[in-house]
């Protein structure tokens, strides 16, 4: 979801920037620690792949389509911190080079999709994989889309509470949770099924590629 600048109050996005900055600093250290000197090109390549993933259309019944986030697939295949750092870079590139999304909404997107989405996807993937690998990938894809939708719905719905005028009228995003939660959660619960299916197919192909390269 690309929320433009102007709908999130500074009272929310400034603290979120502080939180995201801490996680970016820690994430950079983690990625550097887990990898070797090739960290920088690795992160760049994963960012490019993550950026390009968002251009893949997810087919929906009726001939329509939605776009993939790929967070579940990235987290399941490459871990939380790689997914978080790559997704954050993608949001920054989209906002500052293409004007897609916003600079003030960047920390919300990075924390909801890149961090919480990746954390939940990786956790669920690791928990379910011993029992059923396919189901683990599916759940990683689904939760990687659904949980960020829930967090973004909560953040948007909180705007009228944290930023309103003397008469109580909203100054930024106008709708409360009674509107944002069903408006975002119902479609994303269904879209998550498509993202889950794609994560199963994509994850299996990646495993096959890894086996192939491992045998070479």
């Amino acid at each position: 979801m690309h929320i433009p600048d102007g709908f999130i109050a500074p009272q929310m996005y400034l603290p979120l920037y502080g939180l995201a900055a801490g996680l970016w600093a820690y994430g950079a250290k983690r990625v550097a620690r887990d990898l070797d000197e090739a960290t920088l090109p690795w992160l760049a390549s994963l960012t490019a792949a993550s950026f390009a993933l968002s251009f893949i259309a997810l087919p929906l019944p009726g001939g329509t389509s939605a776009h993939v986030t790929g967070v579940g697939l990235l987290a399941a295949s490459f871990g939380i911190w790689n997914a978080f750092m790559a997704a954050s870079m993608v949001f920054a590139i989209q906002a500052l080079l293409f004007g897609d999304g916003g600079v003030t909404t960047l920390p919300l997107n990075a924390l909801a999709m890149g961090f919480a989405g990746a954390l939940a996807a990786r956790g669920l993937f690791l928990a379910v994989r011993p029992f059923h690998a396919g189901l683990a990938l599916f759940l990683a894809g689904w939760i990687g889309l659904f949980l960020p939708a829930l967090l973004i719905a909560l953040a948007l719905g909180a705007q009228p509470l944290i930023a309103h005028d003397a008469a109580g009228a909203p100054l930024y995003f106008p709708f409360g949770w009674s509107v944002t939660l069903p408006a975002l959660l119902i479609p994303h619960a269904l879209l998550g099924l498509g993202e889950g299916a794609l994560t199963v197919l994509g994850g299996r192909l990646i495993e096959r590629l890894r086996l192939r390269y491992g045998n070479d």
Partner: protein, 183 residues
């Protein structure tokens, strides 16, 4: 140095605009940014409108309908304030994109510059290949491809992207190493 100053000015202007809640100040800010855009004002304004229209339009229409249904009145203050603010911030961003070289603005950090250059150059290449994949699927399908075929194609594209990312990372690391980047 100049590009860094422009980046700082853009971020300061964006922060200021996000605090504004009076339509008169927002309109004045929009006017000032349009003057700064100069001859490109029309083009940049059009881009800003197109980039924000879907989200802003949906929220504005829904809120106007909700207010009319509940109170038989239109929230004109909110509609004006929110839409002016969104437009001003989007226009600032498109002016920044048009006038500032982001790669130079981030040149204060060698690693950040390399990361951005590598990521953006690879992103554009991967995006082009994805478009070719899409056209390939269309050309292979005499009739519009079914949902199963499109899923399979999307999954292959996703796996190919990640596979390509692994290969790109390896090649870039070798290229950078051979040029003494990691010493």
């Amino acid at each position: 140095m100049i590009e860094r100053g422009k980046l700082a000015a853009y971020l300061a202007a964006l922060l200021t605009a996000s605090w504004l809640t009076a339509p008169s100040w927002l309109a004045a800010g929009l006017g000032a940014v349009l003057v700064l855009c100069g001859l490109e004002a029309g083009r940049l304004l059009r881009r800003a409108l197109l980039a924000t229209a879907a989200f802003s339009g949906t929220v504005s229409l829904a809120y106007a309908a909700y207010a009319w249904w509940q109170f038989h009145t239109l929230p004109l203050d909110w509609l004006l304030t929110a839409n002016l603010r969104v437009l001003l911030m989007a226009l600032l961003t498109f002016l920044f994109i048009a006038r500032v070289n982001l790669f130079q603005a981030l040149a204060f950090s060698r690693r950040l510059s390399f990361l951005l250059v590598l990521a953006v150059s690879q992103s554009l290449g991967l995006r082009r290949t994805l478009a070719e994949f899409r056209l390939g699927l269309q050309s292979r399908s005499p009739r519009p491809a079914g949902i199963k075929a499109r899923y399979r194609a999307a999954a292959h594209a996703a796996a190919w992207l990640l596979d390509r990312a692994l290969a790109n990372a390896h090649e870039s690391a070798q290229a950078m190493q051979s040029r003494g980047m990691f010493k």
